[in-house]
């Protein structure tokens, strides 16, 4: 049991109490995304009591838990309420989950990104549940006139053994709602967890399989118009004029066509506005199809205002940057130059990866209803708090007058961190003086930008006469991004280490894409590590473990600086070696690759087996060992791991965005290849390290290393190394 100080914002509680009235009785309306089961409807309470901003308890003991963070498919909408329910000590079957709106008075960090929702929410979610339990106990103690510390709880029931009394939470909810918020609460010992660590199904599952309106694109509001935008055809171009506005306005169902200033001069842009384009053209009409037709007819004049970059230019410029040393290294241990001079063997390889689009299956969209008095917005957004700040500046309206509701998102992968589409919707609604839903078509979604940057990295390693790694030199470059994490492995494990990084400024806009930077450099590093191990004549896992051993026993440089725990890193490698029976004689003839990586505070090691079919790899099985501390919901945690593996294989193998004179050459899924059923691994098995450590990231860490495991297995199958993603294209060029 741990005692923690409660850190609620007292003002917000007073405010929510005042709103609710003295009795704390709250009216309650069901959102489509929170549909109770028939049994729950039968048992619906007559009254709800607001215990704190995170939960309400009904007079019959049913509990509604607010899920504070945006849901992008990472399943926090199930996992975060599970954590609250655990500390509240209720039966999970008595819990209803509702998506909380943006409310910075009650919730902190309502953001989906960096695999941090559970890690950063862990303490406050537990506290929310424990505080409510504490208030229920205090209420019962008062009613029964017994000491609070003699009251126990279990699955929604309060019991006082001494006087043989018990009551359901619902019976005490009214009294609990007016109990003073405790200064300090006790948290459960993890060994007493009953909900955390157990498989719980997705709370939206039934609504998903029956096609309920959960997503932003599904919103239909009264008097709502549909809006679409027209983007510049190329990066480096800007708006000049509309040539046939009147003809398009005359089309069936079209209400208006006009240019919009999304970010007028003087507006305070947030980081989350990312690659939002300042000037666009808007088409507003009665229906989506009519707007799509109008968009096709519309003739807009654009003018070049900066370089129209092609892929050949990116290739050349990144190469040239790779060959020009930066002013200062990112990290330097020992003397790499001298070490290479003394090395018995050395090896140098360069790896590259193209721009990638996020391609969430639900294209960008947002609903906005802006009037002089208030702004109401709903839609898929990973960063609602930052969108609100930009809106306050663009609309010249205090944040108190702006309401943002997050819908379930049809994928995020980082794309919906950048909420320029919410700003665009607001500007269009304001101009139309009507509620509008902005809809991007697939082509808009794919060509807007905000891509995963294009990267190149060069590695050089030196071995001494005993095949010990004595020198490591990494140089990374990227468009608008500098790629290298200088303090990650193998920093700290090699005496002579040099990390250098530089960025190429490009007008092709980029942003965070699932596991930023790691998504490429992990696979490159792990493929290179495989070649170095081969050069050293060592087993690939043994070779890595020797390095971790060095980092454990005698770390190079300041150990505090090294951004990983070598014991946990080695732990996942050993676990996956055991589970995949890596060194078994029967597995010697299998095309098998291994990789490990640390990111988002978690450790992942993978073994991948494949066979070549028609010159393309077919992944037979992936074994994945994960150390992310306590796993809240193993069922969906495995799903995240599997998804990251499929995602990582798919993008390394098949996907790329290329450009001709600034124009994206892939505009839809006919030219942009995503991994499909027949290319997915046939089996994925996941193993979690059980160590009781507070939870860390899970949505991203399984993606980065898998491209390394894939490349290493392909080498075993074909005798040929892959260096340039997407591998499918590289192979054709070479083969």
């Amino acid at each position: 049991m741990t005692l923690v100080k409660t850190t609620y914002n007292r003002r917000s509680f007073l405010k929510s109490s005042a709103l609710a009235g003295g009795g704390m009785v709250l009216g309650f309306s069901w959102l489509a995304s929170c549909k109770p089961t028939p049994e729950q409807v039968r048992n619906m309470p007559k009254e709800w009591f607001d215990i704190n901003g995170f939960l309400k308890i009904g007079d019959n003991g049913l509990v509604t838990i607010m899920s504070p963070n945006p849901e992008i498919g990472q399943n926090v909408k199930t996992a975060m309420p599970m954590i609250i329910a655990e500390e509240l000590d209720v039966d999970w079957n008595d819990v209803l989950v509702e998506q909380a709106p943006l409310n910075t008075d009650i919730f902190t960090r309502q953001l989906a990104g960096g695999s941090q929702s559970i890690r950063q929410g862990w303490q406050s979610l537990r506290m929310a549940g424990a505080t409510a339990k504490n208030m229920l106990i205090a209420a019962a103690a008062e009613v029964w006139q017994v000491p609070a510390d003699e009251i126990t709880t279990s699955e929604g029931v309060l019991t006082h053994k001494g006087s043989d009394r018990s009551a359901g939470y619902g019976e005490m909810a009214s009294a609990a709602a007016s109990v003073k918020i405790p200064e300090e609460v006790a948290l459960k010992d993890p060994k007493d967890f009953k909900i955390i660590g157990t498989d719980r199904k997705n709370v939206d599952g039934k609504d998903i399989v029956t096609g309920k309106p959960l997503f932003g694109l599904d919103l239909q509001e009264e008097n709502m118009l549909t809006a679409m935008i027209v983007l510049p055809p190329s990066f480096g171009m800007k708006y000049e004029s509309i040539e046939n506005a009147e003809a398009v306005k005359a089309m069936s169902g079209i209400k208006d066509v006009f240019p919009i200033d999304v970010y007028p001069e003087g507006v305070q842009r947030q980081w989350s506005d990312g690659g939002g384009i300042p000037q666009l053209v808007a088409v507003v009409g009665e229906s989506t199809w009519q707007c799509m037709q109008a968009k096709k007819e519309l003739k807009v004049k654009w003018q070049a205002d900066s370089k129209l970059e092609s892929s050949a230019y990116h290739e050349e410029a990144l190469n040239s940057l790779l060959n020009s040393p930066p002013a200062a290294p990112a990290r330097k241990d020992g003397d790499v130059k001298r070490a290479f001079k003394n090395a018995a063997k050395e090896i140098e390889r360069t790896y590259s990866a193209p721009f990638l689009a996020h391609n969430t299956m639900e294209p960008m969209n947002f609903f906005a209803d802006i009037t002089a008095e208030k702004a109401e917005l709903k839609g898929p957004i990973q960063t609602p708090e930052f969108l609100e700040k930009t809106l306050a500046s663009v609309l010249n309206m205090p944040v108190e007058k702006i309401d943002i509701m997050m819908t379930r998102m049809g994928g995020g992968f980082g794309r919906r961190l950048y909420g320029h589409f919410g700003v665009e919707a607001a500007v269009i609604s304001q101009k139309m003086q009507a509620p509008i839903k902005l809809v991007y078509n697939r082509e808009d979604d794919m060509t807007q930008g905000t891509y995963r940057p294009a990267y190149k990295v060069r590695y050089k390693a030196g071995l001494d006469e005993n095949n010990k790694l004595i020198a490591w030199h990494v140089t990374g470059v990227g468009t608008n991004d500098d790629l290298v994490f200088e303090n990650r492995f193998p920093a700290g494990a090699v005496d002579n280490y040099l990390a250098e990084k530089q960025r190429l400024e490009s007008n092709v806009t980029t942003g965070a894409w699932r596991a930023p930077r790691s998504n490429f450099i992990a696979g490159a590093e792990q493929a290179f590590m495989d070649e170095v191990a081969e050069l050293a004549g060592k087993d690939p896992i043994d070779f890595r473990l020797e390095l971790f051993d060095r980092a454990i026993k005698d770390p190079v440089g300041d150990p505090e600086k090294n951004d990983y725990d070598p014991k946990r890193y080695a732990g996942v490698l050993k676990l996956v070696r055991e589970k995949a029976d890596f060194n078994a004689e029967s597995n010697k003839s299998v095309a098998r690759g291994v990789a490990a990586y640390y990111c988002h505070n978690s450790y992942v090691a993978q073994v991948l087996d494949l066979e070549m079919e028609d010159d393309m790899p077919r992944v037979k099985k992936v074994w994945c060992a994960v150390d992310c501390g306590i796993v809240v919901n193993p069922l969906s945690a495995r799903n995240q791991i599997e998804g990251g593996i499929v995602d990582g294989i798919g993008h390394a193998m098949y996907s790329q965005m290329t450009f001709k004179d600034g124009k994206p050459e892939q505009q839809n899924f006919n030219r942009y290849q995503l991994i499909r059923h027949a290319q997915a691994p046939q089996e994925i098995e996941t193993f979690f390290v059980d160590n009781g450590i507070d939870p860390t990231g899970l949505g991203e860490p399984s993606l980065p290393p898998i491209s390394g495991a894939l490349a290493n297995a392909m080498y075993r199958a074909t005798g040929q190394r892959n260096y340039h993603q997407p591998f499918a294209t590289e192979k054709r060029i070479l083969g």
Binding site: G211, R408, G411
Partner: protein, 153 residues
């Protein structure tokens, strides 16, 4: 504009729309049946899959004027969300973001009708037109096999 009578999910719907309008947008914008999803508009992703008679079709490519048979959408696949495929999806907890799953389920349910006992390779081929960006393919395949087994039991 032209008048059409369509039978959708067992109900006759009378509509007055542009005859070139794809069924997808008729469902979503005119009938508020938004379970059928827009993903690409060019029959590459499968998010908009519905049943035209017993056949799985891409509703983004089928204009309202070309509809000849009864239409079933995800909302009409079963009365209580208990079609064997829906049940198998729930049992496997297949979805992540969930956006593509209506299309996956509609394609899988039509496929199982024509091939009640498919091999893994047949499932992969039949489902290859449906993209899942979250990468739930292994779970989808398992759910389809479970649904087939449940029906054959």
């Amino acid at each position: 504009m032209a008048k059409f009578d369509l039978k959708i999910n067992g109900k006759t719907q009378s509509l007055d729309v542009d005859p070139t309008t794809p069924l997808l947008w008729v469902l979503r914008d005119h009938l508020n049946l938004v379970g059928t999803k827009y993903g690409c508009g060019i029959a590459q992703c499968g998010a908009c899959t519905v049943h035209h008679g017993d056949t799985a079709v891409r509703s983004c490519q089928l204009t309202i004027a070309a509809v000849e048979k009864d239409i079933t959408t995800i909302e009409g696949l079963s009365e209580n969300g208990d079609h064997p495929v829906q049940k198998a999806w729930l049992d496997e907890d297949v979805y992540q973001c969930g956006y593509c799953q209506a299309g996956q389920i509609m394609n899988a349910s039509a496929f199982l009708k024509s091939n009640p006992n498919p091999s893994d390779a047949e499932i992969e081929t039949a489902m290859n037109g449906n993209i899942c960006r979250c990468g739930t393919y292994t779970r989808i395949k398992k759910a389809i096999k479970n649904a087939a087994a449940a029906e054959n039991a």
